[in-house]
């Protein structure tokens, strides 16, 4: 059976496990009003301060390739991996859960606006100004598996892997897949986690439209598992403190 060897978190209440645990027990809220959500029935959200990526980027310019979820994931995964013994990254598995598709980046707006004529996308503009203005890095930022890609590149993880999509269950699926990789002998260690950011107008609006009224949030939680005692976890409802952090919610119980 797998045992948890390392953990890293990035949350609206901080990135220290003990401090975050205490804050939640004390009923402290990580929610705050967000100008980006003005006009919605509730403009509060659980937003992470930072994160500080110093030390987590291989090259400073790589920051341009990171969507918000990947920015949260890099430090969280890095802290969990501090417990990884040297020389085993090649076979270390990595399973990551992500939320719904990343929001459409505001950087695309000039292109989208340039393609509009009479309220619809115009084909000539698509092939002209729209194409010229479309940000070339946008598809790379918004591909769903980029969280896994950036973490694996930063830490040299080349083991078996997967990216799961979905709500809270996806985070648990990532943990289960990681534990099975270790238990069934395909990987000596496995990194599992989830990263999510829903604090943008498009995402917040979409959530309300499908009936999700809890304030949105953002966070990343990663654990490193290896051979050992049975993995036990007891998830709790932290949404009141953190906001709904999608697949990350399935991992709060690990704390």
């Amino acid at each position: 059976m797998s045992r948890i060897l390392g953990i890293g978190i990035v949350t609206p209440l901080g990135d220290d496990v003990e401090a975050v645990l205490s804050a939640v027990r004390e009923g402290r809220s990580g929610l705050s009003a967000q100008p980006a959500l003005d006009g919605l029935p509730d403009s509060r959200a659980g937003v992470v301060s930072g994160p500080d990526l110093a030390g987590w980027l291989t090259r400073k310019k790589d920051g341009r390739l990171l969507a918000r979820a990947a920015r949260l994931a890099l430090p969280a995964a890095g802290r969990a991996l501090r417990a990884l013994p040297p020389g085993v990254a090649e076979d270390t598995a990595i399973y990551v859960a992500v939320g719904r598709e990343p929001p459409d980046d505001p950087e695309a707006e000039p292109s989208l606006l340039a393609m509009e004529v009479d309220g619809v996308l115009n084909r000539e503009r698509l092939g002209g100004r729209g194409r010229e203005l479309y940000p070339p890095l946008l598809p790379l930022r918004t591909l769903p598996n980029m969280v896994l890609a950036h973490v694996s590149i930063r830490h040299g993880l080349r083991g078996e892997n997967g990216t799961f999509a979905g709500a809270a269950t996806a985070g648990v699926q990532a943990i289960r897949a990681a534990c099975l990789a270790v238990d069934e002998g395909r990987a000596p260690f496995a990194l599992a986690g989830a990263a999510f950011s829903g604090v943008d107008l498009a995402s917040a609006r979409d959530r309300l439209r499908v009936g999700l009224t809890a304030p949105p949030g953002e966070a990343a939680v990663f654990i490193l598992v290896g051979p050992g005692e049975p993995l036990r976890w007891d998830p709790r409802d932290w949404i009141a403190a953190m906001g709904d952090c999608g697949p990350v919610a399935g991992l709060w119980g690990l704390l």
């Binding site: 006009g39 707006e109 946008l138 598996n145 896994l148 590149i153 040299g156 080349r158 395909r186 107008l201």
Partner: protein
């Protein structure tokens, strides 16, 4: 591992037959033409009312409906690989363009527009198709892989392991994707990934891929659970995954990660390199990708015959691993190894034994590769029935 494929279905540009394609199925699309892309590989499918404005959902539903019989009392799992559909022209027209004021999006007006009859909430729930189809099947497990172009292959491997482990008795596994719309094309065009001419994997003039769409599903069962009525189309005997951990856009130039996935698949299947009779390559037709894959195949498997279907049915993105594995099932009864549609002049720099045209030969074990942007790799091995 020895998991039976007892049913399979496919929806792609070449149709619904489980046979390797022999000619290019590209057709003209005006939005693609506007971006300098001469053709796309479009599947035929009727819209499913459960997935309005979601073509990839309709593709998945159609493929699953063909094979969705479940033995009484069986615990069922549904494992689907899906893709990033990106913003669509319909969403722009319905949800964004009505809020333009003085040449910019009025974000306050957008925030107050919470009408529920919009396509975007569905787009932002990638697991929704799996959940809806899983509920209809009575599935006790649903899982959605989001691993880019390796998603469907990874779903099939996850499903096979779940059946082998006993998590479920019957698994439906596959993938679905469609990015055949203006913004989908644009997303690939700005990456320089689409061919401005035509899809021609392994050709010395190759210049990108032909974009396609599709879905495919497999029904997986344990050998011990098979009835005399079950017809086995093939056996999944192993699989392996890896990450390049190299670059988010480019594969490792020597195919290091791809080779790792193939080696892990061989180990998982308890096979030797010489046991593989044919490799269905990821083979997109990009200059760097084909070269890296050929190096990896040659290094791991030697002079094994290799070909690619993507010049015929296009790159079906997240569905590719399932679509191409389903098409490979037709190789076993035919006694013919497929060629590479679109290939005219083989690139002499490629080291692998690429098949330009079909050759008559039996295949006992087939290895199918799927590699994704971001460096996620998956290799599956299927054995003849």
């Amino acid at each position: 591992m020895r998991i039976a494929i007892t049913a399979a279905s496919v929806r792609c540009a070449s149709g619904r037959e489980l046979v390797p394609p022999t000619r290019c199925w590209a057709s003209v699309d005006d939005d693609a033409l506007a971006l300098g892309i001469p053709g796309v590989a479009r599947a035929t499918v009727e819209g499913d009312p459960r997935f309005p404005d979601d073509r990839k959902g309709s593709l998945a539903a159609a493929a699953l409906a063909e094979i969705a019989s479940v033995p009484a009392g069986a615990r069922v799992g549904l494992y689907l690989g899906t893709g990033l559909s990106s913003l669509t022209p319909a969403e722009l027209a319905i949800d964004l363009y009505p809020h333009i004021v003085d040449g910019a999006f009025d974000r306050l007006a957008m925030a107050r527009d919470l009408a529920t009859d919009r396509p975007s909430p569905r787009r932002h729930q990638p697991e929704r198709v799996t959940q809806v189809l899983g509920a209809a099947l009575g599935a006790v497990v649903t899982e959605t892989s989001f691993s880019a172009c390796a998603a469907a292959a990874q779903s099939i491997l996850q499903a096979a392991r779940a059946v082998h482990r006993g998590d479920v008795d019957v698994a439906f596994a596959g993938g679905h994707d469609s990015m055949l719309h203006a913004i989908g094309y644009l997303s690939f065009v700005v990456l320089g990934a689409l061919s401005p001419t035509r899809g021609r994997p392994f050709d010395q003039q190759r210049d990108g891929f032909l974009i396609g769409e599709g879905a495919a599903m497999l029904r997986l069962q344990r050998e011990a659970d098979l009835s005399s009525d079950d017809r086995v189309l093939g056996w999944i005997v192993g699989g392996g995954t890896s990450v390049d951990a190299y670059n988010v856009t480019h594969p490792h130039p020597e195919g290091y990660g791809a080779a790792l996935a193939m080696r892990r698949a061989l180990r998982d299947a308890d096979l030797q390199p010489g046991d593989i009779d044919y490799v269905n390559a990821h083979g997109t037709g990009t200059p760097v990708g084909d070269q890296a894959e050929c190096l990896a195949v040659h290094r791991v498997l030697g002079d094994v015959p290799v070909s690619s279907f993507k010049g015929a049915v296009g790159h079906t993105i997240a569905a590719a691993g399932a679509v191409e594995l389903a098409l490979c099932l037709g190789i076993f009864p035919s006694g013919v190894l497929p060629g590479t549609p679109g290939l005219v002049t083989l690139d002499p720099e490629l080291r692998a034994h690429v098949l330009k045209d079909p050759v008559r030969a039996e295949a006992r074990h087939i290895l199918s590769n799927s590699f994704g942007f971001g460096g996620q790799n998956c290799a599956l091995i299927v054995k003849a029935p």
